[in-house]
Symmetry: C2
Subunit: 502 residues, 2 copies
């Protein structure tokens, strides 16, 4: 037996055990080749990846250390006696091996895999194996099965008690953009328009991980977004809409785990994207969903053919899950609006809601288009009339009033964010017309400037595609809050500004 020790090392979604090389009770070599151990006691058992330690102050020879999440999951007190046994890999991994060998998995088999993934019985390399097997080949039936399995492995939000539109089956609207376009903060305009119409739209959003801002980051400039589930439900009953961070809702924990491995691998497949998004939307209780697919040379989806294939897969799986699903294929050729980064994007959003004549027209028109499509989920809105209804709700100030109400109800942001005061202008290298803006490159510069952690950092675009510019005139401004970030971003922009003037 070894003595259990808690190590304050956060290995997030992987269980990691630390064993002293001079372990008094076990031969570390017995476990090293397999890379894992099973830690046991009192009917509890935990599968953990093994690290060997040569420092007795971290783990002594008669101890086994567990990383913080692994310790929590095992659920035994520090100092407990535990024993180690050779690891029994999760049984469902046999199915992953079959899939690697070319088999198609049925719903029950996918459910078994997803259950073990959710219970953290898979190591990261096993998860990678499953993801790559799926990325190599996946039938449409498997995409549906995977989506169902991920829904079943999480909690599902209930919207009982929420009034629908007069006399109809309950409608919970939602929208989702597959991402990749900086400044594309339409949700913050669509939600108040749709809620102002009376259609419930409880929007949960993510924070940015690789982009300069997620909707949650930008909304946090204006209001608190860190809101528990019950409070969010109350809020939607009241105001019909909300714009909160999705982190409190354990909607699709399996998807979160899969994504944590998918992201560093940067392997995005259509199949995994559809399963990921639809599992979260169904779990969120959405019944009517609009998916925004921007298409452009530096967007996630590069051409119309890819967009069609993705749309068809969304429709196929969505239909079978009982969702009313619409797909909008939109222009993803350049950033939307002027600002990139939370404070700058919040400025653009509020300008649109306030009907400010200087508000970015592309952001406004795009939001109206999407809101119109959602409003047409309401049987009372005639086909084709959604957009004008949306425009009416925006121009009348109803959307702004709803947004202000949502902001008031969500409460003030945790900190006041202001625009970064270190400012550099990037100038046009020649006279001409802006030929292209590289979404990926500009996002990278905004991120180097400090966004989204530094909410006031980012890029303020002064010229968009098709606009004339003279040599030496500014194309955009970089805003930063610290000298280090400022220097990084400037150096990166000097190397390649992301703007082609032709």
């Amino acid at each position: 037996m070894l003595t259990l020790r808690h190590l304050a090392i956060d290995t997030v979604r992987e269980n990691v055990a630390f064993l002293n090389r001079r372990c008094t009770r076990y031969h570390v070599e017995d476990f090293l080749g397999l890379g894992r151990v099973e830690v046991r006691n009192d009917g509890r058992s935990l599968l953990a990846v093994l690290n060997i330690v040569d420092d007795d102050t971290i783990v002594g020879p008669d101890e086994i250390g567990l990383s913080a999440p692994a310790f929590r999951r095992l659920g035994l007190a520090a100092g407990s006696a535990v024993h180690l046994v050779p690891p029994t890999p999760p049984e469902s991994f046999e199915l992953v091996r079959a899939k690697v060998g070319g088999a198609a998995l049925d719903d029950a088999q996918l459910a078994a895999i997803i259950r073990d993934v959710t219970d953290l019985r898979y190591s990261k390399i096993e998860i990678a194996a499953f993801l790559i097997a799926c990325a190599s080949f996946m039938t449409t039936a498997e995409v549906l099965g995977l989506t169902r399995a991920m829904i079943a492995a999480g909690t599902r939000l209930s919207w009982d008690g929420l009034d629908g539109l007069g006399g109809l089956p309950r409608t919970i609207a939602d929208k989702h953009c597959i991402g990749g376009i900086p400044g594309n903060r339409t949700s913050m305009i669509v939600v108040p328009i749709v809620a102002a119409h009376g259609l419930p739209i409880p929007k949960t959003s993510s924070r940015a991980i690789t982009s300069p801002a997620g909707t949650a980051d930008t909304m946090e400039v204006l209001a608190n977004v860190d809101i528990p589930v019950e409070r969010m439900q109350a809020l939607v009953r009241e105001a019909k809409g909300c714009l909160v961070w999705g982190g409190h809702v354990r909607l699709s924990p399996a998807d979160d785990i899969l994504i944590s491995v998918e992201r560093p691998l940067a392997i995005d497949t259509r199949e995994q994207l559809v399963a990921s998004i639809l599992s979260k939307k169904v779990a969120a209780g959405s019944t009517h969903l609009l998916i925004d697919i921007p298409v452009g040379p530096s967007a996630k989806i590069r051409n119309a053919g890819e967009a069609v294939r993705l749309r068809k897969l969304f429709e196929h799986v969505g239909d079978r899950l009982g969702l009313t699903l619409e797909v909008a294929v939109t222009d993803g050729s350049q950033p939307v609006g002027r600002g990139i980064g939370p404070v700058l994007e919040a400025r653009d959003v509020m300008a649109v809601l306030r009907n400010d004549p200087a508000a970015p027209a592309d952001l406004r028109e795009r939001a109206l288009l999407l809101a119109g499509r959602i409003l047409e989920f309401d049987p009372a809105v005639r086909g084709g009339a959604g957009c004008s209804r949306a425009r009416n709700l925006l121009e009348s100030g109803a959307a702004l009033a709803t947004m202000e109400r949502i902001i008031a109800m969500q409460g003030p942001p945790p900190a006041v964010a202001t625009l970064g005061t270190l400012v550099a202008e990037v100038a046009a290298p020649a006279d001409g017309v802006v030929a292209s803006l590289d979404c990926y490159r500009l996002a990278r510069i905004a991120r180097l400037a400090g966004a989204p952690n530094d909410k006031g950092a980012g890029i303020d675009l002064l010229r968009k595609v098709g606009e004339r510019v003279r040599r030496g005139e500014p194309l955009y401004r970089i805003h930063a809050g610290t000298n280090a970030d400022f220097t990084f971003a400037q150096a990166f922009a000097a190397d390649d500004s992301g703007v082609v003037v032709g």
Copy 2:
């Protein structure tokens, strides 16, 4: 900048960095989503998987800790100032993504991947992605390209100065068994026979990882196997053969890295097996190679069809690498010899070499068959005459004399190993004939008894398939050295002995 700290944590083939959550210089969230950081200074750079620490005694807020192998690879002194940048994944991973998408890779592309793998620029999940992409689909040209890339990424042993057989181009013989059959220690008989004939056969072997004994473990009962490369080369010049542990020869470091991820996933494909074995053999300087493929219901290869496909792939790739390669498909229906575990297997081997009438006939005949095939690589040995030449070298005592010379030259083992004195007999449940012995199950029991770390532990088979047995008579004996191992092995054997009496 952060201060570099060495952590005595052995993360083996993966670089791991530890950052304090309250890091004073960087936002840990900036790196967490990507799972990695790049640590830099003075033109040195290291890509490492990131762990977050909440204990200042492990890593302080102004420090970054590197696991022992990562620290060594970065090559900076503890206390050095380093900075962190968002990780640039290895460029060659783009090719892995293409492969996942269905592309076939050419030699240059595979070489780029293998170089980055060898330089430890791939994380374990990236390696898993590459392995699974290869396991899903791999052309024969890719197997050849992968093998060549792995050869190029390591050192290649030179046998210049070694006398060949009279007047012929140098012949360096070698054999390899794909494994899975307990007790199959033919190398320790084949090497002295072939060396006694005068054909150089420098045999490097592995230690057991998941089996109860590797050839290196069993040879270590008789002699030192931990021998540096130059000493091994001198030894082969002298005695024509050796039986050493391959750990000193950095023959195919890429393969070692791939295997460290492949093994926990237990994904064995024909393609990876061929690339792995042939890359090591070519790197070892072998020119003439015999591959032993045992076939049986509990072996790695289950039927003749699989064996043929594997044989053809070995031949195809071997031919193109300039190897003279022969494949022997052998009986893998039950363990070979009587003993399973280092001391017991060494006993069987020496009994064969001593022409002891009680020596296991199956081990002797199998070794003679394989040795005969290798001897026929000598153009002077007439087709079909290899086996009788081998028998002659064994029966004359020439093979034993050569083995004794090899043992004397390699020197005494690091410790004297004796048979485990805790002994339990597993009895036949009924009168009858032994219908089957389960290789996998018996190997597992021998391992639980303590083999191979406890060299004296294992199983001594008293009945083989086809032999008559009466109820209550012993089928085999379990030998162990410690009570805990003894109890484990007995309990496992009581559950299912691995022997069917019908």
